[in-house]
């Protein structure tokens, strides 16, 4: 995954600015062996750090194989690869941490994750 320009794509998105207003969370995204920490404040991606980390602070984590995340992040995802819940159902991506916070921030989170796609296809 090339993270170049990801934060800029997120923070320039009017939809995320509106629907993600007020959302603040720290997500640990485990992409295969890679770890990435996304710090969101009021719907803006304020900080993006790349691991490895030792006991990083986060609200919740999403862990999946590199192949699963790569399929999710395709510009035109295949049917049933367009949403993290599809990967939850198949056990390919797993949620850990504060589930309440995950649900409270879910709209903003999904919109931000959709920006993993270079073409920005919706989640």
């Amino acid at each position: 995954m090339d993270w170049q320009g990801f934060a800029e794509r997120v923070n320039a998105d009017r939809l995320i600015a509106r629907q993600g207003a007020g959302a603040s969370f720290e997500l640990l995204l485990k992409w295969g062996d890679e770890e990435h920490l996304l710090c969101v404040r009021d719907g803006r991606l304020e900080e993006l750090r790349h691991g490895p980390f030792v006991m990083p602070r986060c609200d919740f984590a999403l862990s999946g194989g590199a192949d699963a995340w790569a399929r999710f992040a395709r510009a035109q995802p295949a049917p049933r690869d367009q949403d993290i819940f599809a990967f939850f159902r198949r056990g390919e991506i797993v949620l850990a941490g504060d589930t309440r916070k995950f649900y409270a921030q879910l709209m903003c989170l999904k919109l931000i994750l959709s920006k993993l796609r270079a073409a920005g296809a919706a989640s």
């Binding site: 049917p79 367009q82 819940f85 649900y103 879910l106 989170l109």
Partner: protein
Amino acid sequence: MSAALEPVTGRYVRFNFEGRALRVYFEEAGQGIPLLCLHTAGSDTRQFRGLMNDARVTRHFRVVAFDLPWHGKSSPPEGWQTEQYRLTSATYTGLILAFMRAIGLEKPVVMGCSIGGRICLNLALAHAAQFRAIIGLQSAANTPRYYDPAWLTHPEVNGQVASAATVMGLMCPESPQAERWETLWHYMQGGPGVFSGDLYFYQVDGDFRGRVKDIDTQVAPYYFLTGEYDYSCSPEDTQETAASIRGAKVRIMRRLGHFPMSENPQAFVGELLPVLEEIASAG
């Protein structure tokens, strides 16, 4: 200024059900063979706005849809404030039949989506003779639980936004943005606990595995239409259910997801018309 009056009319009907007085909102458009439409969990009749405004459908079909009690513009029954809403197979089935009696709808084609598609299986099992044909959209006998809807009613979670966020990925990414966000708006307007109450039927009570093999499509033909982007009721889920029903017909809809009639009405009607034509020509 230009204005366009839609051919859709909305009314209320009052009837008693399970000993309680209900005030139920319904909409209709068109004339001809009655086509009773059942909305998805946590939403309402507006999902069928495209169908009701499409002359290709309404020329030969009277499209009718009602908001389940607690949904849309239908009232919850008196005393709702002290009870938890939970939809069951028995109540859902009874409500559909009671509504049909209340407005005098005789032998309609019934078409339901998601929970509506699930209850279509029970209608086919127990009441097939009351229907001309049955169309299950995103219909399968069971869906495994892969998330816990209890979080949608947590006091520290905005249930309206979280409900919309939960279902947003069920649609095809290329469905028109205006229709996608209209679909989500309906979820954002749902009453507290209503979506999760419907999911009690979808995830727990409404499991028809092992029974669907008894559906007799000679009494009422059964059509499955499933959007390929749906991971809740996937094409595989539909095909597995349909394989056990002799005579059932399956159509997997490309470029559509879990809310075909709402997320892309134009594309959906193109998929539906051949089915409606077959039903109409069967007499």
